[in-house]
Symmetry: C2
Subunit: 347 residues, 2 copies
């Protein structure tokens, strides 16, 4: 993507039109004014069909992709731009990868105000800066009014995993401990409240945050981590079920140990939602040997985005593939994967 | 993405519902039944937040992304699935990269028939097999009826570029020659005709094809290639303008040398379109030294998807950044970048 020699400045009151997706001079102008200005880096500005990245040293490549369709675009604590960057950075971090670069593919709806797009891009720029990652390739398409919904953003990411680092949902072992980096459900409830129409007032902020620096700190102090997973769509319950199945182990949770902010708890009660299934965008589940728990919790609690880290459960041999919960009143119940859709378009 | 132990078979008459985007058991079931079945490979099936790829040897990484919103989803010669795979494979090939892996991010509209999705995925599987590339990571989101348009697909790609291979839009030099691998405009016209309502009958097929094997053959015979570019949105005119600007050179085209299939030509005449601006999805522009032209054309004409390769122009020092065309009647005119939108949602 190479622009005209002098891009024409966009007017403040401009809207996205189909020509912004033509691949011609209007696309170039949009890309130069908004994207190149925000994501200013060598590989992106080279303007070829693919961005070129140097390869740091031996290791493995981690690759991930996520499309973001959250509605509304802006919500307390974040917006689709911050979400798109953090979602993909976190997917890389969850296999112990250091992000090398992100791509951003935009599907814009005709009529979108340029200032809205600008705000989303600024938010992506800030999140990328915070995470220390570059957005190295992009694409812009435009669909007619009524064939999209403002902005959809796909972010794909590439990361580098040093040889010897083996973090996977397949690695949980009986005797391991499950940690969680803080209270659950904030993102889902913040987005839900932002939709309005619920007669619900709330001060809940989305937890959307990049976790890659946190994970690097953790792994440099406690390298023996077996599993990392961020409990996004489907929440903690679904993420733990995935791990239990991948590793063929049982996970036993302690209900009283799972932190939930009081305003999330009361919103969930009002709406009949179980916070275990509500999406998070700045939390991690960590499965590691019992012997590492103290060192891990000490490290985590000293880090931004993990001050509220706690132990929430343990890994057992049986029943394989199941998540069980010891309830506050002393019983045990099965915690299943989310069935159907609880909160559409939460990310 | 890990599914239930036994995925429930999808019914033939099923439609996409919001629950297919929940991240819970319905998403798992869809992913297992359709995506894992079609794109069966180790990195994908590992089911972690990022796929892990081995790194072959020293070199550089190429990274690219493209969102596909073509309308209609199926058109003569191809569909959105083949387009999504080929578009990204070709962007990698155009910097001389060998594809290592593709990601696929789906945004589905509620109500999409599962059989339609299945046909698109089968088409992606066939194109990936033809190109010899694996789809190693994916994501599925669902939007409400009327907030999308059937299927949008983002494909991002990662490739490996051997050290010493330097192919870029910045490398065109005065004295170089411009080759084109075949007749132009087929994709754009095929999609336009497929939309109907034009009172236009035509036998034009889209040229959508993966060019990576062709490019590898070319580079192994003629390594001294300066620029490769696929003239997609905006057509040959826009792609050459990009190269002229990136390299600060002039490109002089010979109108009579530019191949256009007769049915494309007559459709363009009827519709008032200039084939130079119509999208292609299986053609490459090749800029290389005069001394390499004969070897390159011999090689290209022996290869699938490049049988119709010809020389269409030359590179000059001035006027820098401009594309000029010697017309059939002997004059010279400026060929500018596409302004505005000629054919929305062509890819």
């Amino acid at each position: 993507m190479q622009g005209p020699v002098c891009p024409i400045p966009l007017r403040h009151d401009e809207q996205v039109v189909l020509g912004h997706g033509s691949g011609g001079s209007m696309t170039h102008n949009l890309v130069r004014n908004l994207f190149y200005a925000a994501f200013d880096n060598g590989p992106l500005l080279a303007g070829d069909d693919s961005a070129m990245l140097d390869w740091p040293e031996d290791g493995r490549l981690a690759v991930t992709t996520d499309s973001h369709i959250v509605s509304p675009l802006f919500f307390p604590g974040g917006d689709i731009g911050r979400l798109a960057v953090c979602g993909t950075v976190n997917d890389l971090a969850m296999v112990g990868a250091k992000p090398l670069g992100l791509t951003a593919g935009f599907i814009l709806e005709e009529g979108l105000p340029i200032v809205t797009l600008q705000a989303v891009i600024e938010s992506m720029r800030l999140a990328a800066t915070e995470a220390g990652i570059r957005i190295v390739a992009g694409d812009t398409k435009v669909v007619e009014r009524g064939k999209g919904d403002g902005v959809f953003i796909n972010t794909s990411g590439i990361g580098w995993v040093p040889f010897g680092r083996e973090i996977s949902g397949r690695n949980a072992q009986a005797g391991d401990v499950v940690l969680l980096t803080g209270p659950i459900g904030d993102h889902g409830i913040a987005v839900l409240v932002a939709r309005g129409g619920l007669a619900l007032e709330s001060d809940v902020l989305s937890d959307v945050a990049p976790l890659n620096l946190l994970v690097e700190s953790l792994l440099s102090t406690v390298p023996d981590v077996h599993v990392l997973r961020d409990p996004t769509r489907g929440g903690v319950a679904t993420a733990l079920n995935e791990i239990a199945r991948q590793s063929s182990v049982a996970i036993q949770l302690d209900e009283a140990a799972i932190p939930v902010n009081p305003s999330v708890e009361s919103a969930c009660e009002l709406l009949g939602l179980d916070p275990l299934y509500v999406a998070n965008e700045g939390k991690a589940l960590i499965v590691l040997p019992q012997a590492q728990v103290e060192a891990a919790l000490n490290l985590l609690r000293s880090q931004r985005y993990a001050e509220g880290s706690v132990q929430i459960g343990t890994v057992r041999a049986a029943p394989a593939g199941r998540v069980l919960m010891r309830t506050a009143i002393g019983g045990t119940r099965v915690v299943d994967t989310l069935a159907g859709e609880m909160l559409p378009r939460i990310c």
